[in-house]
Symmetry: C2
Subunit: 389 residues, 2 copies
């Protein structure tokens, strides 16, 4: 008789978003005349740049012509895109194109990367955290997970612990706190990983939003190429959430018992995936043209402006606000020590305003809410106008 | 210290294609004036239908408009595509849209589907076989794999064994043999699965090429909705190999210890994937329009014609040929009992003709070569002209 993967039963209820959706429905019914202002979601709101759309259309049209038609693409991604990433995103950092793997989006690779590792490894994850780091490991029976606090006490700089961990997930700029890890913090982590023969999985999906002096890539840190995998996304900076494309860097330097991690990932991708869509990869390539850079910069600046108005507005109301400088998220402390869920519900019930309860991302996220600067300015102003506590 | 996933070391050398590529290079050097005729690959050769290209362009353009812009799509796929699949591909078979999951291509889901199951299951795979069934399981530490012969003795009708197996991969029309499983064979398998509480993973990627009375879907077989997952592809029938989109059906009827497999897969997709690209799903939708069906039919007919000319041509040369009736592949017995590799090398060295050695797909594939009917007609004629044994 067939047995299912019992690890599914160890997942916590996947109903954070479903719960929130239900509460939004209730709020709508209670105040049918007042619009719902949704500042909870982390999805993009600015339309796709025309240059990307044109590139995708042109690449698709190529496929209709017998001379330029293409079949299967390379499972690890097309060289044209890897070369553009290497020479633009890793200028002076010497990341070779064969160290870059085009993905179907950062979420997919963040979930899949654990396949490289044995189930006996000790895993470290920040608390609060993007839940995929934990859930993807639990589903694979990898349950030895240590939560590392990321809170006001350590200035949201998750610190290496006194115990050895084998795999550490770092997210910078952090989702949900919106705070980047400093160069100093990252140096500590790279040293820790070297000392303990551990691997860092570095999620830099929000890197494009950094305005402080925080590193944009972990490869700015000395020796990091021996220990760190970096995962990046086109989703947030270029509106790719519906297009699905990102990339993962696995330096050839990383060797475990003389096995190159890079080669294992090549084998994994070639065996298990057909890679990302050709026209979508051509769309991603267009981001690296002069016009593409200009259009992307404009989008990022708009989100940054929205986030800064949101941050200032909340501060003026007396809130203690973190994040929002290197990230489109602000991490806002609740008033009067109210817990996340109660505060979230109060904002929803009183003002029809949706945020994200911080404790949904982990215990250390309690007494915070995450508010999204992806929200269009008119909604932000309406929200600031409505909230009177 | 971090440990890698040791299961990678249990994979057989992944160099079948690399080996072939090297031999092709050598052949080129030996006969630089004679072109290489490649009938080995199973990739599509007819350009993409204009209707698909137009649909993708239009959907991408939508994303550039503030009113029609979209962010994250549903991880399990858009309803518009699931509904089209349900009402077209499962006409009279009552497959609900929520039983359909849009994938990033059949290969990706074939690889990922094993995540639903425990590592202690006994797995059955045909020999010869599409290697992904085996490799994806081995990488996940699922190594209890029984090979079930699929050969001339059983008319390429893989038969249920006398021992209980928990998970069985069936591929019909089969890659590499090109032969479909008959209704009678499938009925035996569904009965076997019911009797043994096993699950059938049914790969129907080549279903559109069937011209015999073989079932197009396993759901044509009574009781199959209790035991069978079906995986399908837009790759071969509609030239989607470079676009990446397919679908997987998991009926709600399938319950293991009262857990619905369908719900587990929803959880898996939502946790680990951002789903397929929106414009690509719109491209797939266009296949179900009247014009889309017409253009797709035309493509399939062209491949079928090529395959039938290939089959007849080889038969006229005295080869015993299987397949080619329900599939774009013919499975051609070598002459004089020569083994696959020697025969493959001989065709390459003497005539600069590339085929696929059958033993590359498993021991039972020895003494056969696979020849692809995706090959354009002028290449097929040249090949038939060149081969004189």
């Amino acid at each position: 008789m067939v047995n299912i993967n019992k690890n599914f039963n160890n997942l916590s209820d996947g109903y954070l978003f479903a719960n929130i959706a239900r509460l939004i429905q209730e709020a709508k019914q209670k105040k049918p005349k007042l619009s719902i202002l949704n500042l909870g979601i982390g999805d993009v709101t600015i339309p796709l740049s025309p240059i990307i759309s044109d590139a995708i259309s042109q690449a698709t049209k190529e496929l209709t012509n017998a001379k330029t038609h293409r079949g299967y693409g390379p499972s690890c991604g097309f060289d044209f895109l890897k070369e553009a990433i290497s020479s633009n995103d890793y200028i002076n950092l010497n990341i070779d194109k064969d160290e870059i793997f085009i993905s179907l989006g950062a979420k997919d690779d963040i979930s899949n990367i654990q396949e490289l590792f044995d189930s006996n490894n000790k895993i470290g994850v920040s608390d609060p955290t993007y839940p995929v780091y934990i859930d993807s490991n639990i589903m694979a029976g990898k349950t030895d997970i240590t939560l590392l606090p990321c809170n006001e006490e350590n200035n949201f700089q998750i610190q290496p612990p006194n115990i050895p961990l084998d795999i550490i997930y770092l997210c910078s700029p952090n989702n949900p706190t919106g705070v980047s890890l400093t160069k100093e913090t990252l140096e500590k982590w790279v040293k820790y990983a070297k000392d303990n023969d551990s691997i860092i999985i570095y999620d830099a999906a929000y890197e494009a939003f950094i305005t402080s002096s925080a590193p944009h890539s972990i490869y700015e840190i000395e020796n990091s190429k021996d220990v760190a995998i970096e995962i990046k996304s086109f989703s947030k900076k270029a509106g790719f959430t519906s297009l699905r494309c990102g990339y993962t860097v696995i330096p050839k330097n990383i060797k475990i018992n003389s096995q190159e991690l890079n080669k294992l990932w090549v084998r994994r991708c070639e065996t298990k995936s057909g890679g990302a869509s050709y026209p979508i990869q051509k769309g991603a390539l267009s981001l690296y043209s002069e016009e593409g850079k200009k259009q992307t910069d404009q989008i990022i600046k708009t989100y940054q402006k929205q986030t800064s108005i949101l941050k200032l507005g909340m501060e003026k109301k007396g809130f203690k606000v973190y994040g929002g400088i290197d990230s489109p998220y602000i991490w806002c402390k609740t008033l009067n020590n109210i817990n996340s869920w109660d505060f979230f519900k109060m904002l929803l019930e009183k003002f029809n305003v949706v945020t994200m309860p911080g404790s949904g991302f982990g215990k250390q996220g309690d007494h915070f809410i995450r508010i999204s600067g992806f929200t269009p300015l008119d909604i932000i102003y309406q929200m600031l106008d409505r909230i009177n506590l």
